[in-house]
């Protein structure tokens, strides 16, 4: 087929309109790049293919970070969320996460509106068949209509669409997601460019008709009142809030599931791709934890204007008849009708060790990958990567160095470092326990950590930046006041502490010292000193955290500093890992595969021993010595 070139050359061409693609395209366009977003289905932009919710443990952190940098996900969920909850509030300030149910249709429409109203951003519906590259550089994409769109950079955010294969029982058919075309050719083009392409699997639940559910047999679960927004730019949530409902599977459910295992694509070996352990299907849970009597099921509304419900907890690829049989054993679902069956989907991904931390591929310059193509799962993980890929594509266009976040700076940094260092063997999901500097990476300080960067790269709007600066200045001045103000004898604060059941206050101690007592809160101090009334509750609770947990925070900061020296020991780009003297074959293969950028990254590659790191140091020093004598 002859190729027709589209008359306009873009700075950034984004392939895919999911959560990664939207953030990538918005970031690039807002940074001043002429941007093209290509999607197989323009009605599915920003669609939540799986559960109708944003955030969750560790994922809420990612959303707040994306927001602190100037991304769109938080603002969109704030505008379209129908139930907001703070999770893990009792577990500590750093592991507290936000989660919200979305009105799925409103969410995608709002995201599409934002794309459409962004200057310099074109959206087109077309299927991409290949990355067009010359001389090791991406120069655009070729489509199934024979049109070539030229782009200085290309960002692939293909989700589950690469050779997507949907399984429902032993029935299977190609689809990008149930109801959408798959991209059958694009991953072959990536293979031809030299990428190693693998196969993963994920799944989703059936969708249920709400009018056939007996909610009286379930327990309603309401969100927080008042609901707290995700975005640092929003003060409140105005939309009416609705409950979810909790019910449980039982022995009869499990019996029904077992009766269908022989026709399960998972257990009959039809599915080759590797699925996520943390998001098992109900059949997997029943088989692996056979002695467990019940599993909970959350019935989540898909929106205000639809009767569809998402039964969180029963993701399945069992045959349709078994799905129905199994569901109808669950209290409240005795007469349920399925609107859309649950299914598993296999798709191609590109092992992310083939990427730099900027998310640019190592093999093809100007080509970036973000989201499920990198072996991740989750809207939030996708959005975070899309954001970074979009920023770095834009910076490539303007000839600037890429933006890379460290592990002690952001969950985004942990996510991307894990991907490019360890690769993906199963769909990767963020957990707070992946972050070794977890106490530093809180939802509440995402702006303090990242908004300066967001503003500098040209993403965070002026008004948001000023709001951040005000918080930052308020915080440092409050911290100073807490250290210098002292409780005099007869100070109302001293009486208040006694009244609250605390030990007597020694006159002359600083507010900060007082605040370190477990029973004393920042609010208590502020309410007894009129001079402190000017500080916002947000600043007060931030200061309280910093004062109370100073020892813990400082230890992690010191640890992060100590490890930084290894990050600073960089390998030159042509470093010959193949010929480093004395390495075992296994370690050498790993190093050649990942090609770490620094000693620090090399140390984090699983299986690279301390002895091997010592050898790398020798080799690195030798290289230097040679360079020195040579130059």
């Amino acid at each position: 087929m002859s190729v027709v070139e589209y008359p306009k050359e873009y700075d950034v061409v984004v392939v895919g309109g999911g959560h990664a693609g939207c953030e990538a395209a918005l970031a690039a366009a807002r940074m001043g790049c002429s941007t093209l977003l290509l999607t197989i289905n323009a009605d599915a932009i920003g669609l939540m293919s799986c559960n109708p919710a944003i955030g969750g443990l560790a994922k809420g952190h990612l959303v707040r970070e994306v927001d602190a940098l100037g991304g769109e996900m938080a603002k969109t969920i704030d505008a379209t969320g129908i139930q907001f909850r703070q999770l893990n509030t009792s577990k500590g300030p750093a592991v507290r996460s936000s989660r919200a149910q979305a009105d799925k249709q409103l969410y995608r429409l709002r995201m599409k509106q934002v794309l459409e109203s962004t200057y310099g951003l074109d959206v087109k519906q077309v299927m991409v068949d290949a990355v067009f590259a010359e001389g090791g550089r991406a120069k655009g994409v070729d489509t199934n209509l024979g049109i070539r769109y030229r782009g200085k950079t290309v960002v692939l955010c293909t989700g589950t669409f690469l050779k997507g294969l949907v399984h429902i029982g032993l029935v299977n058919f190609p689809a990008g997601r149930a109801g959408d075309f798959p991209a059958m050719k694009l991953s072959d083009s990536l293979r031809e460019l030299g990428f190693s392409v693998g196969r993963l699997k994920t799944g989703t639940t059936p969708r249920l008709d709400g009018k056939t559910i007996d909610f009286s047999r379930t327990t309603p679960q309401w969100g927080d009142d008042p609901p707290l927004p995700f975005s640092f730019g929003n003060k409140e949530i105005r939309r009416p809030q609705v409950p979810c409902y909790v019910t449980y599977t039982n022995e009869r459910t499990h019996e029904a599931i077992r009766s269908g295992l022989s026709r399960s694509p998972l257990y009959s070996g039809v599915i080759q791709g590797i699925g996520p352990r943390y998001c098992p299907s109900i059949e997997d849970k029943v088989v692996r934890f056979a002695d467990k009597e019940r599993h909970h099921v959350f019935l989540e509304p898909e929106g205000l204007e639809t009767a569809e419900y998402y039964p969180n907890g029963v993701s399945t690829s069992l045959p349709y008849d078994i799905q129905l049989k199994m569901l109808r054993t669950i209290p409240g679902l005795e007469e349920v009708e399925i609107v859309r069956p649950g299914y598993a989907i296999e798709y191609d991904f590109v092992d992310p060790v083939q990427l730099s931390p900027s998310l640019e591929t190592k093999a093809i310059r100007n080509l970036f990958h973000a989201g499920q193509i990198n072996g991740t799962s989750g809207y939030e993980e996708a959005a975070a990567q899309g954001m970074v890929a979009g920023i770095n594509a834009a910076r490539r266009v303007s000839g600037e160095d890429p933006v890379v976040f460290t592990r002690s700076e952001a969950y985004i940094g942990v996510l991307i470092d894990d991907l490019v260092t360890k690769g993906a063997t199963e769909p990767y999901r963020m957990f707070t326990s992946r972050a070794e500097y977890r106490l530093l990476l809180r939802e509440d300080n995402a702006d303090l950590r990242l908004s300066e960067r967001g503003y500098r790269v040209g993403l965070l709007p002026e008004a948001r930046y000023e709001q951040f600066r005000a918080k930052q200045e308020g915080l440092s001045s409050l911290l100073a006041v807490l250290e210098t103000s002292r409780v005099s004898a007869g100070h109302p604060l001293a009486r208040a502490v006694l009244a609250a059941g605390g030990a007597p206050v020694r006159p002359g101690i600083s507010y900060a010292e007082l605040l370190r007592r477990p029973e004393v809160t920042g609010a208590l101090i502020v309410s007894h000193d009129p001079d402190l009334a000017r500080f916002s509750p947000e600043v007060v609770s931030q200061a309280e955290l910093i004062v109370k947990f100073d020892g813990y925070l400082r230890r992690q900061e010191d640890e992060a500093k100590k490890l930084k020296k290894y990050e600073d020991l960089k390998f030159p780009s042509d470093f010959p890992f193949e010929s480093v003297y004395g390495l075992s074959t296994e370690v050498r293969d790993k190093l050649v595969r990942v090609r770490p950028l620094s000693i620090g990254q090399a140390q984090r590659i699983p299986g690279v021993t301390p002895a091997a790191v010592a050898l790398l140091l020798v080799a690195l020093t030798k290289g230097r010595a040679v360079t020195q004598t040579g130059g």
Binding site: G56, L57, A58, L87, N88, S90, K91, G92, P93, A94, V95, P276, R277, Y278, C279, P280, K285, R288, F289, K292, H295, H296, F298, N312, G313, K422, F431, T432, S433, R434, A435, E436, R438, L439, P518, F549, Y552, R555, Q556, K562, K565, Y581, G582, L583, S584, Q603, P606, T609, P610, A611, A612, A614, L615, L617, V618, T621, K622, R624, A625, Q628
Partner: protein, 473 residues
């Protein structure tokens, strides 16, 4: 001050591969016998630390020149009179500021001096760390670096079992069950943080958490105690022989050594200075020190001997306190026993070839591990004594640790770090801090132990969670 004079505060130095900011310390001569032991400090704080330890006036020292000094510990106590030499960066072995202290060849002294350096902010050097810094700073040439690479390569390309042993080492194997328990506690804590939405994940109550942390601390404590014994396998143990004059101390020394070492006469105070001999017992190199009779002496030489005897007893791993069993104990015996009573010791009732006149009833200090009748003259009871010494220095419950006891200061520092972290976790539970802080402390403990067993990866904890609990909605 000219270029390389050691100064109280290290200054930043540029250049390739500048040090990594920490200062490390370790003996660089083999432990055990030898006239001199060398303790090396390397890093930005090497000079300030060495200057403080030795009390040397920095304006009076020139680089690369030996100076006499007195090495003191943290409380100003004298450790040894020694020589110290300063090698300013970059003209040193490692390319960093290096100070070397030449101590007398006694493992106890070297260890105390190293501990003093650690108190001042140095950390114990990992094996090969001086060399590593040396080539990082370009101080080793290609041939040297390759020789080192050869050495390491031999380890990594060997048979899988050998490699594992090398990699983890005996010590790692000994520590890993303990670390396994720390990780298993961490797994529970992390599971209830990351998967609190999953009802399957059990929540530990604060009492349960406290109980598990306390149990872990008790184990860590036992590990640390094993160091005292463990390092004996490497550096040997000192056994002092004490008692008033003429109870037969020298004869007992000779019996144990199996040869005539001390000058034995019947005149009290013959052993004016201490005499010593070495023997191997239950795998432990024993240094037996026969002290001067503990009594108020008038002769200045003898007085000096008595003073040194006290010092030896104070630092010995075990003291054999000798009584003349053929006569009732007198005030002098009781007075001498005061020096020994609180230290680990055995009471020996010597001269059992004669009629017994003393059973040691008044010699039951808190440090006593047994009373043993014997006759140095005939050899009767000496076997029992040897068994008692062996039992005391290497108890059987240490059998596991004997395979790979904590023998090095670096091991102890790692275990101590774990202990400090667990102590913080205890406090955190006590102060009702939220789970993530407790988890952070337990993680620090696991991390500290990982220095002996290998790296901890977050995947390890996640893997454990996924295999133990039904996770995911």
């Amino acid at each position: 001050m000219d270029e390389g004079r050691p100064r109280a505060r290290a200054e930043e130095r540029g250049g390739p591969g500048k040090g990594d900011g920490t200062t490390i310390v370790a003996p660089i001569t083999p432990a055990g016998a030898g006239a001199v032991s060398l303790l090396r400090l390397s890093g930005p704080e090497a000079f300030p630390i060495a200057l403080r330890m030795t009390g040397v006036d920095s304006s009076r020292v020139s680089p690369r020149t030996l100076s006499r000094c007195t090495v003191r510990g943290g409380k100003g106590e004298e450790i040894d009179s020694a020589l110290v030499v300063f090698f300013p960066a970059p003209s040193s072995f490692t390319g960093e500021d290096v100070a070397e202290i030449h101590l007398h060849g006694n493992p106890v002294l070297v260890e105390r001096a190293a501990a003093a350096a650690c108190d001042l902010g140095a950390s114990p050097a990992a094996p090969g760390e001086f060399s590593r810094r040396a080539f990082q700073n370009g101080k080793m040439d290609l041939t040297q670096a390759e020789a080192l690479a050869d050495l390491i390569a031999a380890r990594t390309t060997g048979a899988a079992r050998a490699a594992l042993r090398q990699l983890k080492g005996g010590i790692g194997e000994a520590i890993s069950p303990l670390r396994g328990q720390v990780v298993s506690l961490l797994t529970l804590l992390e599971a209830s943080i990351d998967f609190s939405e999953d009802e399957d994940v059990p929540l530990l109550s604060s009492e349960q958490t406290l109980e598990r942390v306390s149990e872990l601390r008790a184990q860590v404590g036992r590990c640390l105690a094993s160091y005292a014994r463990g390092h004996r396998y490497r550096d040997g143990a000192t056994v002092a022989i004490a008692g008033v004059a003429n109870v037969g101390k020298s004869r007992i020394l000779n019996r144990i050594l199996g040869e005539e070492r001390a000058i034995v006469t019947e005149v009290p105070g013959t052993t004016r200075d201490y005499l010593s001999g070495e023997v191997s017992l239950a795998g432990i190199p024993l240094r037996l020190v026969d002290t001067a009779g503990l009594r108020d002496a008038l002769d200045p030489v003898e007085r000096e001997g008595v003073r040194r005897s006290r010092e030896i007893i104070a630092s010995a791993d075990l003291t054999l306190f000798v009584l003349d069993g053929s006569r009732p104990a007198h005030g002098g015996d009781l007075e001498a026993y005061r020096e020994v009573a609180d230290r680990p010791h055995l009471v020996l009732l010597n001269k059992r070839d004669l009629p017994a006149a003393e059973e040691g009833g008044r010699f039951r200090g808190p440090g006593r591990n047994g009373t043993i009748p014997l006759s140095a003259a005939t050899g009767e009871g000496v076997g029992g004594l040897l068994r008692a010494i062996a039992r005391d220095l290497a108890p059987e419950e240490d059998a596991i640790m004997a395979e790979a006891p904590l023998t090095r200061l670096r091991h102890v520092e790692a275990v101590r770090k774990a202990d400090v972290a667990l102590e913080r976790a205890q406090e955190a539970v006590g102060n009702a801090l939220s789970l993530e802080f407790i988890a952070s402390d337990v993680r620090d403990a696991a991390q500290a132990l990982a220095e002996l067993t290998g790296e901890i990866a977050p995947e390890e904890v996640l893997d454990a969670i996924f295999s133990a609990f039904c996770i995911g909605k």
